[in-house]
């Protein structure tokens, strides 16, 4: 009975780590760290049949992109490809040489932090067929968004010396005002291939 005389032995806590590890591994495995990411877009509000029709946009200010059911592109009436779409869209919106067939500019307006700037009137119009694959649709959207992002980057670099992503809130707002993202999705209809 020599044992009972002693005070209670400390419980061996060595296996605590093992238990904790076990739990840890379980949570490690079950954790899904995937942050949902994607192309954020805003749909146009529903059409109001009673509202007066908006004035038609001049043909030169519309950059039409059609995608048919075979995932082929028609850019401004010509057969196009994904690789050139971004450059073409950029050229259309910025219109650096003021060509008559590319988008017109609004009258110079004062924008905070940037100064007078001629905002483009250009609208990119995207139309797809019901048979277009979603993959192609996303690729086209991606190129158009990329075109706008590059234009914004250019302006941000010129005025603030930083990329658009790195600007602070007010600066980003100013750039957005100077270069609004005008991608419109036409009312759905079938395009013959």
């Amino acid at each position: 009975m020599a044992r009972s005389k002693r005070t209670a032995e400390p419980i061996n806590a060595g296996s605590m780590a093992d238990i904790a590890f076990l739990l840890l591994i379980f949570f490690l495995v079950t954790t899904t760290m995937d942050v949902d990411s994607g192309l954020l877009r805003k749909l146009p509000p529903p059409l109001d049949p009673e509202a007066p029709k908006p004035p038609p946009i001049k043909e030169r200010n519309v950059f039409t992109v059609l995608v048919n059911r075979n995932d082929q592109l028609l850019v401004e009436g010509e057969i196009g490809s994904l690789s050139t779409l971004r450059v073409k869209a950029k050229e259309f919106v910025t219109n650096p040489y003021n060509k008559a067939n590319l988008s017109a500019k609004k009258d110079p307006a004062m924008i905070d932090m940037i100064g007078t700037y001629e905002v483009s009137k250009g609208v990119v119009s995207l139309q797809n067929d019901r048979g277009t694959s979603y993959d192609m649709y996303i690729r086209v959207q991606n190129e158009l968004v990329a075109a706008y992002r590059e234009i914004r980057d250019d302006l941000a670099m010129q005025t603030f010396g930083k990329k658009y992503k790195l600007l602070n809130k007010d600066q980003a707002k100013a750039v957005r005002r100077a270069i609004p993202m005008m991608i419109s999705e036409a009312e759905p209809r079938n395009i013959n291939s």
Binding site: S37, L39, L43, R130, S133, Y134
Partner: protein, 159 residues
């Protein structure tokens, strides 16, 4: 050499592992807190397309998900291979969207409703027809903020 040399005789002292459980517990709590158990079991295959201009979705609590894709293998026998819409845990049709969006709105406070986003998780093989129908329905419901869920990067299989 005599006074201080004695200590080395016992070899390197054992490192105390007493604090190991604490460290492990810390990690454990971190993962427990960040873990989001999958809320819905997917009944459709969704292989997201790739894009480079992706943005992260913030405020997960304000996002409702719509899945579109062909049914998973086990269900293909009963439901076929045509792309279908999945809302919550069940297959749905475009006409069910209204109920779904309204239910989602009621689950949030009124202030948050304008900031709600609908995330479209769509398989890349899906044709735009069904997507267009969903988009038109969302427009009618005034759920205008959408997110085309994509993975970041470029598709290596692209030409």
């Amino acid at each position: 050499m005599s006074k201080f040399g004695k200590k080395d005789k016992g070899g390197t002292p054992e490192i105390s592992t007493a604090s190991l459980p604490d460290i492990v517990f810390m990690l454990l709590f971190f993962f427990m807190v960040t873990t989001v158990m999958r809320e819905v079991s997917l009944k459709v295959v969704v292989q997201q397309p790739f894009a480079t201009e992706v943005k992260k979705l913030e405020k997960k609590s304000l996002v409702s998900y719509i899945f579109i894709g062909p049914p998973i293998k086990g269900l293909a026998a009963t439901f076929g291979t045509e792309p279908r819409i999945q809302l919550n845990d069940a297959f749905a049709t475009v006409s069910d969207l209204g109920e779904f969006i309204i239910a989602e709105r009621e689950a949030r406070s009124e202030k948050e409703v304008p900031f709600m986003t609908t995330s479209l998780k769509i398989d890349k093989t899906v044709k735009m027809g069904i997507v267009t129908d969903v988009k038109q329905e969302l427009r009618e419901l005034n759920a205008l903020k959408v997110n085309y869920s994509t993975k970041k990067g470029t598709d290596i299989t692209a030409e």
